[in-house]
Amino acid sequence: MENKVLISPLDEKKLLEHLLDNHELRRQRILFNRFLGNPIWWVACRQNGRGKLAMHSKCAHIWSDPRAESLSCKKQILSALARHLKNPSPFQVECRKHRLATYCIPLIVQNTRLGVLCMSHIRPAMLRKAPVDLLNSTIRLLLTNIVREYELKRLSESVRPRAIALSTVHTVHRIINSTLNLDELVTRLAHLTAQVLRAKTCAIFLYNRAKVPHLLVERARAGGPAKPAKRKRALRAGEGIEGRVFHTAKHVIRKNLICVPLIDEDVIGVISLNDKKEGASFDIFDQEILTTLAEEAVIAIKNAQLYEEQKKVTLGAIQSLAAILGARFAHTRRLTSDSLLKITLAIADYLKLSEEEKQAIHYATLLKDAGKIGLPDEIFRKPSKLTGEEYQMVRQHPVKGAMIVQSFESLKPVAPIILYSHENFDGTGYPQGLKGNAIPMGARILSVVNAFDALVAGRPYKTRATLIEAMHELRQHRGTQFDPRVIEAFEHVIARPPIAKLLTGI
């Protein structure tokens, strides 16, 4: 069954122009000219689908036949065409004065008359049945093909923008799902959403159940004033448009604003956009796109929130363990766990390590003494030199610490930092004698911080060092025991607040 497409007056005009431009029709014209004695080809149509029939203005130009402009018996032919207006079959018009005929083929598409294809100045004897039948079939086929091409083009024009929009939504989905950091995710989402919907501003509000009263807090904003407000907006459910969307779980769409809820099992927030660029208005297409983006964003946001929760639980467990270790080994330290952590993370910041590396160093600093848990206290309090056996036991503690930590999937990146924290930069350390950059950076940092803490805490066999003495000792071993870059970073970090303040009294 042939699919029918509605043909508007604009379509009629375009179809006719497609026909006139058609390469195959030109080729057929050249072929049929031999049978018909080189007639003048032209098309009669109505201007804008109304009014009198007239020659199409482009005929002479397109078919390069200047004879079309001085067609004899033109009025007679046009009158005949008008009389045959409802005739769907080809017909002939005779010009007795010049003893010539015009052969006319109505161009009909789905009961719509586009015009009439005429071949004038034919000697009547040339209009034999065989070539005329072939001509009729050829024109009918050409017309069918042109209409099909036109329909496909229209379909493509209607489908293409939607396909591009779908591809955009998919790309945005991939970009926002590439991070589990909630702040980074919502910031990216706000920028991308503003770009996709061509809005001047986009804000993302998430519901904060942790604090009372429960508020809808603005977590990210794209666009807006050059100097953003110092405090992020916070709304109660039902307050303002965003609060209302959150409360009702229904979108709002206006000329200059569109706001949709972020819905998981409950409403977890809203996305709100203002002021489309170039003065345009938000429309139903924008609402569809935004709703799709919101549905994808919810999954990404929930994943990031779950990841944050998991991190908090892990950190809580680690901090509890660190507190136990701290209590057990308090006598071996001068600095508190918190101070050690601040120094370590400040060095990591100075060296521009990634967030993942900093997190691993954070946990490693808290758990670095985990391997010592099985060692007897006497070893740590012994004022004299350790025996060979005792020394071997102590050298095993990084290995044992790494094994303890490695048993937790989420702490696997932490294990190498603990394991190699007693390696020396020149390869003379333990347990594996790694050298230089083969030692993980986190381990090189921990090595310096541990050594500093041991120096300022003192040992049963050694008095405490002052800050200056400790720094001197560390510098002495730059390049041998310690990575020079880490020593430089350490010197920089402890010279400035807030770290310098932590070390007053040392």
Binding site: S167, I175, Q195
Partner: protein, 88 residues
């Protein structure tokens, strides 16, 4: 922009795609489908245009998404150049 019209050939195709679809954010594979360019060629052109600041690049571990810059000056220049006829 050094020239007084859009670059010819494949770079122009990509720029025109983004000018015609300013809210599009797409990967090299997507842009290659819309512009009928080969994937390797498309990747190369997209990176070049990102380096020039004509496109923004959003990089993830698995892909890169490209969109048209939001820089008004560059956009105005591109739109003016796009109206001019192609030059060889």
């Amino acid at each position: 922009m050094a020239s007084d019209s859009l670059p010819t050939g494949d770079q122009a195709k990509v720029i025109r795609f983004f000018l015609d679809n300013p809210n599009s954010i797409d990967t090299p594979r997507g842009v290659s489908a819309w512009t009928n360019l080969s994937l390797p060629e498309c990747r190369r052109i997209l990176e070049e245009l990102a380096k020039k600041g004509i496109l923004l690049a959003y990089r993830t571990s698995s892909t890169v998404g490209y969109s048209l810059t939001e820089n008004k000056k560059i956009l105005q220049t591109l739109q003016k150049l796009a109206k001019k006829p192609h030059q060889k």
